[in-house]
């Protein structure tokens, strides 16, 4: 656009580039954060922000000065050892080496002292933990029990893992929710297309009294809030014995998707050349043949556009699923699972939340990026005249 006009300032182009970069970054950052977080170790997530994830993280650990190792030296009971050799640290320090950045003796202040400093503890005991992890605990009395706790802070390498996904998919029933979502989505996408395509053809190319009124009706129904249908239709489902079930949600999604489907498809079909349809009539094709042999193949872009819409809508829907499906674990879809279960009971478990969210948005994102062309075309057919 107006690239070639003489005297266009280069400064403006640079400004535009910067502005767009800023906008894209602003739009992308939250999603990137989620993606990165979902692969981080759960301890590291709460220790540093995801934007620091490539850097080492200082985590606090606890160890023990095992009483069994104590020896008496000049009337003082001494325990020596290395904090990294403690079993509890095996997950983070498999080679039993590391760098201590601080230590302490109380859980409330795990990083009270810098490494190498001799800490005076209660009861006359002293503790020193060195940078390499070696420690020396001295007590004026013999140590009883398992031995005192020591706390230290050590630098851990950045760790990326699929553990969150494993937990979400295997332990948290998310696999079931994923399958439920698929089960809701596919019939709820395919059936309205068929019903709408026939109706759209009739409204676009067949002549009958009341056609204009019906089209106006469809346009009106386009904006009827779903909320109105919830109570009466749930009662209706209960009355005819469908109740809260997959059948019920398929019916509901089909009906709720119809106005947009009919509107989009009719707008597209009306744009097909009249001559082609008349030519088929002269060739002896019936309306049914014209529909199946001419209109359907030519309307593929619009059909694809609506299919993507309806797929995204039903996949992402929370409202209809909450109302028309039972709230039991066997029939929960992913959105309900995340909104009701995970955000409630595991609200603080960020790794699980991020992984669950990403599982639920992965399929729509793939569909979106692979079929974007059709989606855009469909959007335009629906809104630009």
């Amino acid at each position: 656009m107006s690239d070639n006009i003489v005297g266009e300032r280069a400064g403006l182009t640079i400004a535009v580039n910067i502005a767009v970069v800023a906008l894209v970054v602003l739009w992308l950052i939250p999603t990137v954060g989620l993606l990165v977080s979902s692969f981080r170790d759960r301890d590291q997530i709460t220790a540093t922000g995801w934007w620091q994830s490539p850097l080492p993280v200082e985590l606090t650990f606890r160890a023990r000065a095992p009483a069994a190792d104590q020896v008496e030296e000049n009337g003082v009971w001494v325990v020596e050892g290395n904090v990294f050799e403690d079993r509890e640290q095996a997950r983070w320090f498999p080679e039993a080496t590391g760098t201590v950045t601080a230590f302490g003796s109380r859980g409330v202040a795990p990083a009270e002292f810098p490494p190498g400093e001799v800490a005076e503890l209660r009861g006359g005991a002293t503790l020193v933990v060195n940078t390499d992890g070696t420690f020396r605990y001295e007590s004026p009395e013999e140590i009883e029990g398992a031995g005192p706790r020591l706390y230290f802070e050590a630098r851990t390498p950045p760790q990326f893992t699929t553990a969150n996904y494993n937990t979400v998919l295997l332990a948290d029933n998310m696999d079931r929710a994923f399958i439920n979502t698929l089960t809701v989505t596919i019939p709820a996408t395919v059936i309205p297309i068929l019903v709408a395509a026939f109706a759209a053809y009739a409204l676009a190319w067949m002549d009958f009294p009341g056609r204009g009124l019906l089209i106006a009706g469809v346009v009106g129904l386009l904006v009827v809030p779903l909320q109105l249908a919830l109570v009466p239709m749930l009662n209706f489902h209960n009355m005819i014995g469908v109740g809260q079930s997959f059948l019920g949600i398929w019916l509901a999604h089909t009906a709720f998707g119809l106005p947009l489907a009919i509107y989009l498809l009719r707008n597209y079909m009306v744009g097909l050349p009249r001559d082609i349809i008349e030519s088929a009539k002269v060739d002896g094709a019936t309306d049914f043949q014209i529909f199946t042999r001419i209109i359907l193949p030519l309307s593929f872009p619009a059909l694809a556009a609506f299919a993507i819409f309806q797929f995204l809508w039903t996949w992402n829907d929370l409202l209809v699923a909450k109302v028309f499906l039972p709230a039991t674990a066997e029939s929960q879809v992913m959105t309900v699972k995340i909104a009701d279960d995970l955000l409630g009971s595991r609200g603080g478990d960020w790794g699980i939340l991020a992984a669950a969210a990403f599982v639920s948005i992965a399929v729509p994102l793939v569909v979106f990026f692979s079929m974007q062309r059709y989606l855009v075309r469909g959007l335009l057919a629906g809104s630009v005249k």
Partner: protein, 326 residues
């Protein structure tokens, strides 16, 4: 039955049923009722052609009538009864709604949403459309800005938790505040009044891509000559944008604006998944969900209030559609 199998059976039965219905109904019409042969072939074909549209429309009309037309009446009727559904209380549900402070707050918040979200989405969309159109990597930028469109409202709410979280090691906002020297983390979703705007931004984030795609197509549809004429007349880029381009796509801007407005009135997911309607963030759809299953009379009354808010847009849409068909 395993829901997957059930789903598969449904697809086959549903799709097969639809195809079968259309095929056989059509065949019965052409072969049995009005055969296209014999002495009356011509007249029969014409008769069949008068019936066929209704054949094609029947399933759609039944579904739309049952699930969208009847509920308008059904919901209104139900809203005249109390919680049990047996006692007629007239407009009692509506008067107790008006008396309820939370409802009034929901209404106020919803009006805020209707004002802010479409305006901001359209603005950002227009900005993105205009800026990206001039870039070589514009299509990639567009694709990325458009992406949130594919994300569920629940997923988006979760994504934004990583921005809003009350912890400088999770939430970006608090991390930035810490960087600027604030020593206390705040929960932005609990700041009275302003928390509404943080929630709205999630929806703006999703809808900007939609606005951008449509407005960008509209911008490209502007005749290049009008822009070139303006350049020759000495207009600067801002004047060209606001005085030449925007007026030419005003119709599309209105369509985008109303589409997003309608959407705003349907969304309860974001509030539900972030604050649950607490801290003064309730809006009508989520307020309704709070009463769904507990007091259908009140829930339907709220739904009907939403319908009344939508009504002007509906009428305007119908008027526009009828105008176009002439």
């Amino acid at each position: 039955m395993n829901p997957m199998v059930q789903g598969l059976v449904t697809i086959i039965v549903g799709v097969g049923g639809c195809v079968g219905y259309f095929y056989f109904a059509n065949m019965v019409l052409d072969r049995v009722l009005y055969p296209a042969s014999g002495p009356n072939a011509g007249a029969n074909i014409n008769k069949a052609n008068r019936i066929r549209p209704w054949l094609f429309l029947l399933p759609a009309i039944v579904a739309l009538g049952l699930y969208l037309v009847y509920p308008v009446i059904g919901s209104f009727y139900r809203s005249l009864f109390d919680r049990s559904g047996f006692n007629f209380i007239g407009l009692g549900n509506y008067s107790s709604l008006i008396a309820d402070g939370e409802f009034r707050m929901s209404l106020r918040n919803n009006l805020l949403w209707i004002l802010v979200v479409p305006a901001a989405s359209t603005f950002f969309g227009l900005l993105a459309a205009q800026l990206t159109d001039r870039l070589s990597w514009g299509n990639i930028a567009k694709s990325l800005i458009f992406m949130p469109m594919a994300i569920s409202f629940v997923g988006a709410s979760l994504i934004w938790k990583f921005v809003y979280a009350n912890n400088p090691d999770i939430g970006l906002i608090n991390a930035l505040r810490a960087l600027l020297g604030a020593d206390q983390a705040v929960d932005v979703l609990q700041i009275p009044f302003w928390n509404n705007f943080f929630l709205m931004f999630i929806l703006i984030w999703i809808q900007t891509g939609f606005a951008m795609v449509i407005l960008s197509a509209a911008l490209r549809g502007i005749p290049e000559e009008t822009v070139e004429a303006a350049v020759l007349d000495g207009a600067n880029p801002f004047q060209i944008f606001f005085k030449i381009k925007v007026p030419q796509i005003m119709g599309t801007i209105v369509v985008v604006w109303t589409t997003i407005t309608i959407l705003v009135l349907k969304i309860f997911d974001i509030v539900y998944a972030t604050t649950g309607g607490n801290f003064g963030t309730q809006i009508l759809p989520s307020y309704m969900m709070a009463y769904m299953f507990r007091d259908d009379g009140r829930a339907t009354a709220v739904a009907f209030v939403i319908m009344i808010i939508v009504l002007p847009v509906m009428i305007w849409n119908i008027v526009q559609a009828r105008k176009e068909m002439r």
